[in-house]
């Protein structure tokens, strides 16, 4: 079996898991929840095995081009999806909020589908600038941060959905969604996981830039956007310390933060690079 087939398998399993999780919510069936979470675990195992296999495959290619599979957009999207599931599973182990998965797993599924459909899955050798252990540390920490923010965003969407629903029909309480307080706390928790990782990600990126180019910060669009994301989440953390910034406003701030995260990750490469390509850089 090749890693590409395993990635397809993982994607399919995530799809099944998502359907199950949606059924949990629709049918209000708690027992189905255990089946759903087992399915997510299966997808995660396949996903992890596929990443490992791709790593091995890169060493089997001629020309000694083996490297950790974190070097291009395709590989990073796949790792992003993996991190999202990982963070979700960790939160599930500790807090057992099954229903959260119905909102989180689609993020991972979307990333996997995007990678399969649009990504270039050829294993390519690393150009000299990428040949650094800092690349691995940098990508891993950044994406764990991004993934935690994705979970925060998913929980915030749940918060807003549930908030809107309970405003319209207050009687509808047993919808298996966690309570608003729990969702708010989960949002905060996800960002508390993500923020130190993002900080580490920016720091390792700066260290790498320092080794490769002799400058740890040069205000290039990618760096600047990571700082923008960092500012937004720092604002989130401090807003909570002031009056009235939990709940809905915190949820919106978390969604804003994740939109900025996505832009930092994808938008900068897809949109801004075009703008800068004439800059003679």
């Amino acid at each position: 079996m090749s890693s590409a087939q395993l990635f397809n398998l993982a994607t399919a399993v995530y799809f099944v898991a998502m359907v199950l999780l949606a059924l949990v919510l629709l049918l209000r069936n708690r027992r189905l929840g255990s089946l759903a979470i087992v399915t997510v675990w299966c997808g995660f195992v396949a996903h992890s095995a596929a990443i490992g296999l791709r790593w091995l495959e890169s060493y089997r290619l001629p020309g000694a081009i083996g490297h950790v599979p974190l070097s291009n957009l395709y590989e990073s999207v796949i790792f992003f999806a993996w991190s999202i599931v990982l963070i979700y599973l960790i939160i599930d182990l500790r807090l057992r909020q099954r229903a959260v998965g119905a909102f989180v797993v689609p993020f991972a599924l979307l990333a996997m589908c995007w990678a399969q459909l649009r990504g270039n899955d050829a294993i390519e050798p690393l150009v000299p600038a990428l040949q650094s252990n800092w690349l691995t540390y940098h990508v891993v920490t950044c994406f764990l941060g991004y993934a935690a923010f994705a979970v925060g965003c998913a929980v915030s969407i749940m918060y807003l959905v549930k908030g809107a629903r309970s405003a319209s029909k207050p009687a509808d309480t047993d919808d298996l969604l966690p309570s608003l307080e729990v969702l708010d706390a989960l949002n905060y928790k996800a960002i508390m996981i993500g923020f130190p990782f993002l900080t580490l990600g920016i720091g390792t990126g700066a260290a790498w830039a320092n080794y490769a180019w002799g400058t740890y910060w040069s205000w290039d669009p990618k760096e600047t956007w990571s700082l923008i994301v960092w500012f937004i989440y720092a604002a989130f953390l401090h807003a909570r310390l002031t009056r009235g910034w939990s709940g809905r406003r915190a949820a919106w701030l978390s969604i804003l933060g994740f939109v900025a995260t996505l832009f930092c990750y994808l938008g900068v490469n897809l949109l801004l690079s075009g703008l800068h390509s004439y800059g003679g850089g």
């Binding site: 020309g63 050798p125 000299p128 002799g214 807003a239």
Partner: protein, 463 residues
Amino acid sequence: MPAKPRPLRILRDFLCSLKLTVATLLLLAATSILGTVIPQNLSSLQYRQHYGDKAQLLQGLHLDDMYHSVWFLALSGLFVINLVACSLRRLPAVWRSVSRPPLVADGALLRSLSHKATLQAACSVDEAAIRLQPLLRRRFAGPRRTIGPEQEVCLFAERRRYARFGAYVTHLAILFIILGALIGSWFGFDSFVSIVEGDTVTQLPASEGQAPVELGFGLRCDDFSVSYYEGSARPREYRSLLTVIEEGQEVAGYTRVPVVVNRPLQYRGLTFYQSSYGLAQMPLFHLQVRMPDGAEVQMAGRPGQLLPLADGGSLQVVDYTPAFRDLGGAALIEVLTADGQRLPAIAAMQELPVDENHASPYRLQLLRVDERYYTGLQVTRAPGVPLVWLGCLLLVLGSLGAFSLAHQRLWLTIRPTAGGCEVQMAGSSHRNRPAFAGTFDRLGQELAAELEANNHSAKEDRS
């Protein structure tokens, strides 16, 4: 403390407010976007080309170098002042509450605590206190024993006091990073030098309007090479071999040091990074030519140079690629035959499998290419960098600590009752209260077991 005049108080409250923090952080985020959308540090002409009439406005607002513009620096300055003011204002209170905690849980304090329970024991007050102390010492830090106003015995225990300072460590870390950046921009510099293979440099070229910088030692480039991934034109490694020379002598440990991307050379506070390369002069191509009559000749020439052949024809090197399919280097040759025909031909390092040059009367092979490269090195002195790294480390540790460590406190008040004594437990955790609830309940059970007390005196509801 003497009352401050009103305007000063308003200013102080403004500078210390968390609303200002949230506002500046979001403003910094929003304005930073501009510099990622507008290309930075182009020439006036380029801005005119891309933005037309708006170019002037854009340059007037310093959006062409916005991260160094006055208004962006002012916003950052406000952020730093806010950070310092707010931290300094709160720190003393945090320090006081940590260093001088209330040892006696009075009514007001009890009301403010969310975790409470009461245990009944059959032993005397003193005995209860003596039995409970070792347990508290094991689970928390050593309890402090005092006598309350009504002669009750009070035990106070706590753990992870330092967790209170996580946020302040984080804030200090930010100041370190900013200070490191300032030191770098005041005392550091950034330059570029190119060295031709075999040459030695002793100074860095002058930047605009300044004298060249003396290195104080010599730096020789012994060799520069590019290697490619097998069978592709994708570069694998750029490598310079550098030697440091002091007073005409090679310095031990600094001879033929390989410098590649991601592995710079450090010497006497300067760091040399592999940054670019190029040909110092036109390469010299050594060719072997088999004439139509079977005679073989060897010749060498640079691109553009006409190489005459014995039969009246000539060759000229036009182009070169270091990786032609998987045949290694190859040169594109323009052949001018004796009867005036112009033909393209390829001379490769290896025998071409199918003769691609069937049109040419000469069979060509490339023997070797003498290339003389120069290596381009980025040179920096960055004295602030260690402080920046320290800041990054503290930033991560501080925020992790602020988020995941909780300062937990426990007050026990032991009063005599008719049948023995009553232990009132109260606790607080400065974060992660749900997890503390479990800790608190378990501790209550352990304390009860220690007292062999019956724990049935219903726990008070946690509010």
